[in-house]
Symmetry: C3
Subunit: 660 residues, 3 copies
């Protein structure tokens, strides 16, 4: 467990390097990421390589005992490359080129990018494979979907489709192209979705997304193959960023040793009620990519800004508390972005730990405290992990399909996941956020929001999970589509009907309107987005609509299925309803829970051979009081004993050792 920084030797006069690196050493920094945007320095002209400057920086890192992760520089192809080989540049749906001068200007399918990217990566890998400071690699930087529409992608997409479906007849059937006379009679009629019209065939659009996702994975695979071959001792990671991403993070993660995340929690006091929870979800999503601990490759160090107005500066304690939050949820290394704010270029106001003036200030002092704390606890926390009894299923594919065809105003796949996750987090119940389709062993409760596009394998797995005694919570818009994004010709929830024991008689896309949900005790709750009018088959109702023409009709049901229970939410209930239900389930099924958390305070447990550690974080500008259920020793404060009402200051952090 360690703290690091992102450092760009190429941004600074070489005379500054030694002092910078010495200060890193003194502050307790252990690891540095370098070079992910340095292609033009590493290969200033085609075929002319210059690693000497990086060698000198590496020598200094090594001299001061810092370990180094090198980023492959493909996210910023240099100008000589894009000028000579313009096929590197992506093309938007409107035919416009993604021009150089920025970053991310690369088509994942470009042959030139593959060729020249591989060459620089292999050169780098060979050069640093034996360097004593180097421990690993980051592929590219923050993969994102550009949805390139260039000629290469045309061809690649056609091949992809042909490989998937074999014949045009199959394509026409799978996509239902007969609607609006869109049938293909010749392969050359098949293009990428030009023009960007939302009126295009949704099956085609989803397959185009899948193709683009695959393109990223294939692009990364080329890099990984080189790195594994040349540097078999080094680990490989990639830094994901801001969720939700239209990206198959799971497939990208499969080829990695460890996942990483770039974590920029919002500093605005206006967001302080939501930031701790959306941040917690981001971290849990990252942990779920490979279902193991992860890295933070860029951690907030100051106010972001540049092309947008700057954010608020982090409140005192904010930087440290959010770094600890990342650790509390499974990060083993926290690399801060960045050592010092850039004085040139487009990221001048994406503030680092040290300001442009190069005078370390309040934020650096806080970082320094963090380094000391992490280094002090590193030994005890090493090897600890999070173990949970609740899982939320997450799927980039559901998000993409629901974006292609918005169901109702306000119905947002990821926001709905956020709500369920927030309810759990506020209840003090830890959960994993994993890919739909992952094994579910060990989970007492599984929440599966809107399994909109649903194949038989997943449906059967969920049935088996419930039958074996699990509690499964389904929501509206499940089982609507087959894997071709075609509506199923059966009553909803389609393939989940048997498990849910319920039939959707009809539905009402109420959108932003607020409707009423009533429970058996007569309590009223708000609901919105969608109202399935439910006909229980084997299920029993547990909530009913309270208004409109369907007042009295079941809205939420539960079905005993094998040894388990399957809940079906026909509507989007407010968080309070989720909280009551989840608290009830936690009690009934003995789910571990830290009760009594005030707003903004989060609790998680990391356990391992050295013990179990309870992290309590007050991610709030107000001091908070947390009722402790027992007496514990504070790992962070020299073993001081904490019991009764724990007073936590603004952005306070406490780590308590739990008894065996």
């Amino acid at each position: 467990m360690q703290v690091g920084v992102d450092y760009y030797p190429e941004h600074w006069d070489e005379s500054l390097w030694a002092a910078d690196i010495q200060l890193m050493k003194e502050t307790g920094v252990k690891v540095v990421r370098v070079a992910e945007f340095a292609w033009s320095r590493l290969e200033p002209r085609e075929g002319f390589f210059d690693f000497a400057w990086l060698d000198r920086a590496m020598e200094l890192f090594h001299q001061y005992g810092l370990q180094v992760v090198i980023g492959t520089p493909t996210a910023t192809p240099p100008r000589w490359l894009t000028t000579t080989y313009p096929d590197v540049l992506p093309v938007f749906a409107d035919g416009q080129t993604f021009h150089p001068g920025v970053r991310g200007h690369r088509c994942y399918n470009s042959a030139s990018l593959r060729e020249y990217g591989s060459r620089i990566i292999e050169k780098l890998a060979r050069h640093y494979s034996g360097h004593p400071a180097v421990i690993g690699w980051q592929t590219d930087n923050e993969f994102g979907m550009i949805d390139c529409h260039c000629k290469t992608c045309y061809e690649a997409f056609r091949s992809w489709v042909r490989q998937k479906y074999g014949t045009l007849e199959n394509v026409n059937t799978a996509w239902g192209t007969v609607v609006w006379s869109g049938e293909y009679s010749d392969w050359n009629e098949l293009t990428v979705p030009l023009g960007g019209s939302p009126f295009q065939n949704p099956s085609f659009l989803l397959d185009f997304q899948r193709f683009q996702w695959d393109s990223v994975v294939r692009f990364q695979k080329t890099q990984i193959d080189s790195l594994r071959r040349i540097c078999p001792e080094h680990f490989i990671t990639h830094n994901f960023h801001s969720y939700p991403q239209r990206l198959d993070m799971y497939a990208v993660g499969t080829d990695l040793d460890v996942a990483a995340f770039d974590y920029y929690p919002n500093t605005s006091p206006d967001k302080q009620e939501t930031t701790p929870y959306s941040g917690a979800l981001s971290l849990d999503v990252t942990r779920g990519i490979k279902r193991q601990n992860f890295w933070i490759m860029e951690q907030l160090s100051g106010s972001p800004g540049c092309w947008m107005p700057m954010w608020r500066t982090p409140y005192p304690g904010f930087i440290r508390a959010y770094a600890w939050q990342a650790i509390a949820r499974g990060a083993d290394t926290i690399v801060h972005f960045r050592w010092r704010s850039a004085v040139a270029g487009a990221e001048q106001y994406w503030h680092g730990l040290i300001d442009h003036s190069n005078v370390p200030g309040r934020r650096f002092a806080e970082f320094s405290q963090l380094c000391g704390e992490v280094n002090g606890l590193s030994g005890r926390l090493q090897g600890t992990v999070l173990k949970h009894e609740v899982a939320i299923l997450h799927s980039h594919e559901q998000k993409a399909a629901l974006d292609i065809q918005p169901q109702a105003q306000g119905l947002d796949y990821y926001e709905n996941i956020k709500q369920a996750h927030r309810a759990l987090t506020k209840l003090g119940i830890g959960c994993d956020v994993i890919r739909a389709g992952e094994p579910l062993d060990g989970y007492k409760v599984v929440i599966a929001p809107s399994l909109y596009v649903l194949g038989e394998t997943l449906a059967e797995q969920l049935e088996a999970y419930a039958a074996a005694g699990g509690v499964l919570i389904l929501t509206n818009r499940s089982g609507v589509k087959d894997s071709n994004n075609i509506c199923v010709m059966q009553p909803l929830p389609g393939l989940l009907s048997r498990a849910a024991g319920v039939r959707v008689g009809e539905y009402d896309p109420v959108g932003l309107e607020v409707h009423t949900l009533v429970d058996p005790e007569g309590n009223s709750f708000e609901c919105s987005q969608w109202c399935d009018l439910l006909t229980p088959v084997t299920a029993v109702p547990v909530a009913w609509y309270g208004d409109d023409f369907y007042a009295g009709i079941p809205a939420v049901t539960v079905n005993s299925f094998g040894k388990g229970q399957v809940y079906y939410f026909g509507t989007h209930a407010e968080e309070r309803y989720w909280s009551l239900l989840l608290a009830d389930l936690a009690g009934k099924y003995g789910v571990t829970r830290f009760a009594g958390l005030p707003d903004g305070v989060q609790a998680t447990i990391r356990s391992g051979e050295n013990g179990s550690f309870l992290f309590l974080l007050n991610l709030n500008r107000m001091p908070q009081t947390v009722p402790l259920p027992g007496s514990y020793s504070s790992v962070l404060c020299n073993g001081e004993i904490r019991s009764g009402e724990l007073q936590m200051e603004a952005y306070g952090v406490e780590i308590l050792e739990l008894a065996e």
Copy 2:
């Protein structure tokens, strides 16, 4: 009088056809529209025609006694056509191509579209001219203006201008191109309005609109000529949609036997105060296209959606009530869109009568009731029509000219028509909405909002109408422009000054500001948009401004002109003012009126040889009470007698026979 459905045999496995058509038959469906998007099935490859599948469907329709309308498939050119002949595709003002993969991707002037469109239509026409089930044709689908900027349109526009004006000198004069040095010195300088800048010459822009309108008419004419030649026994229609449309509906309608409308009233409860009235106007506009009864070719059957969030599901009774509203205002056939929701393609969530599951539900039951009722009353209602004493003049040209040069914030030509129409409808006064220039015989009152672009013929016709005893209501922004969209050099209302007997001294575009209007009794009303400061010449004031520097200046005048009266509204008065004035005029001139309608309830009368029938429709989620002026027999309820206070349930429908 009959009910039908839109059915797409090509969307469904052939094994479903027979059951579908049998259920149509049993439900009381009489007519089916087919094939308007089926080009790729009818001609899967260039020159290779396949009508066999449609023959089989036709055979089933015929077998079950259903009549069929065939749509010409030109709204969705197949991919082989657009790939081989890309001139089919329109080009936007920014040079972007309207790419295939959607619908409506066709340039009305494309030579290839004309050629291949004509060929498939002639083949279809010959093939089905003698088919016993086929009764008529729909041209294309929902004509709309794409304002194509392709090279063909360049050339066609030049020819159009040359034909209209003869010489460039005439063009320069007619358009006033000298302003900003825009004079043409060579025909090749004359292009379509590239770039889409709003700063372009308004005379040029209006003529470009007229050219585009003509292009649609010419495009349709080619189709109609073929159909009339080959199928002289069949009728021809076109399905117009959502008004206002930038389209010369009247010229399109001239070549048709009957007009049709695609009617999708908004299902949102938030809109329930406006939807019944904007819907009523749409129906009256459609009836005015050919001044005769019409068809609904697509009637709302469920929640629309797909590329947008879905709407609310129709409230119980909504589907039936709005179908009856269409009949009450002149529809003779109601074709519901669509039989069953599509499971594939871009329109999956534009819900049909039956859901994807193929289990008929609540909406289908309501449709079934409707079919029974219409079939039961068909004989009595056959041949009945609406006859009114009030007309509103409508003009696509005024709308286009006012869109090119917005006069004031909030001044919206069609919205102002809506207000006048709503005032009449709430008063229980039926009216016709007809093209400016139509004969006005029989009308006691004619409302002519903003005759902004005005030629002498229309001005003279209106003078003659008033002189002969009519009541004519003019509003501000009349007589401003000549037919070249050039401002007239005379005091406003220009050519209408004599009839109005008033002079606009100056004007104030007050926009969204609310100003005050005062009547002779001292009552105050809100006014907005525009304030003409009026100087009565022969007219007398009937309302004055109540504020700003023109407090006390006349705002509304009336002029005795020959045997008639001409009102001039210098400002946009609130609906309450219109209601008082129109009620007063109705009393004074004996205009038929159904008094006492509560909000949301509409009354119309259809009369014919079989009698006169009063339709009362409660288009509201609340029950309403309607005071009946006498005692009537309910045609819908077996002749039960209704008198006194008629209780109408939510979305209730009542049809009463009026005494001779």
Copy 3:
């Protein structure tokens, strides 16, 4: 001192000319601007010139004793030119052409425009150099930045960069292109900023702006060189419009004899609290371009409109009062736009003094009164100028740099200048608004908002100003960047640290949030946008933050520097705080002030050999009372004596002679 009109002979039938010009004469019009959009009439085809029509108009002007300013017609290249030489047309960042059919469709670097523009200008100049009516020229019309991205601009920009920096190595260093691998290795990689992404290098973007500014200056210089050579007796001006403009007005102005402004104060009553002040600033900015009196080349004469909804018509008195405001702030000639509203073309609703009907009305009568008044006072006011003791520094470069990298929500360079200027104007303190870098002799107080990009010369000048006894007010975001738009590596305010005697320890971009400022008396004020946390070095605090984690930290400081005082505002204080401080400074340093002005009333003084004249203008719809400090003779009202409480009607104007 005189009044004029913009007149377009080419827009009107020649039969109207004589009556128009005779009426001008009778009304008191002295000067006319013509021909700035008449290229297609002056040169209808390439190389075919026709000045005969203009000769006839000129003859009439001369006959009636009117003087004429001719506009060079380059703002509207004719169609034959753009068709034959399409390089005249600018290209946007997305590759789209700026199509003809509008105005301003000209690339300042186009070789064809230079060639054909020079030719028509030289022909015109030779033709009218000796004409007795002609007195001067206007270059082009309302220069604005199009930021052309055409091939010519590519090449020109490369040359400009090469000339500025010599080598690519220097470019790479100056711009810091190493960030994101943006280094140039060959000149052909250097393009204009294609694609318009905000993520581009800010140093590159600022230099591209500078290049575009220079392009305008070079373009105008070509015209001026011709005119000076051929018409040495004539003056040359240019009509600037609506500030802020991304334009180097100062460099454009350097080559002119006199600056001109097109003044369209907002007529909306909703804006009547701000329009008088933003208008005053525009006039002061214009006076500052050359630091001398100026012309209004287009003065509001009626409601603007056309491509946008029309504005309110000017309230009675508005036209006259705002013309007097322009004179009161340094205009010596007021040319009204336009004589009569155009009946054709895109500017039909940009209303002139006379309406389309050609019947002079209320607005014309007001103009007529103005002409009489100005002609009556012309002799006495001739040669008078404004002299002030306070200056605000203004810089197009700061605005551009701050637009490239927005600092915080709500932080708007020009709006912040507006606030300081409004505070002064309401206090009755006149001020000059001049280019940063201008000599500051004679100013007691200099306000220098956000000197964000700062070179040593300016920093030294300001130090010298303060050291010599001046009061200098600096604000946050000063000294942040060097002239390459690179952040300085020193504590802020960088080069101004010594003068300000303060160090910015850290900062918080609070944006739209409202925070608290507390003065020594404990009064609270709102502050927003930005909070520098100040560490006084030699300065003393004069206000502190009242909230957040920096409550109690200094927010505003003052430093005794040499004989002067330097204030530093670490935050954006509300106007009330500025008013108190400025009033205090005015008292302390004896700055001339007209105290007691009610809202909307403005006071300025013009002085010269004939005396000093106090202009009092009520730019408000309500009558106002102004306390006069003495007894004065009214120049406007035949020397009537005014004293005590001066009652001013809505839009009232008073001009009082001040004792020597």
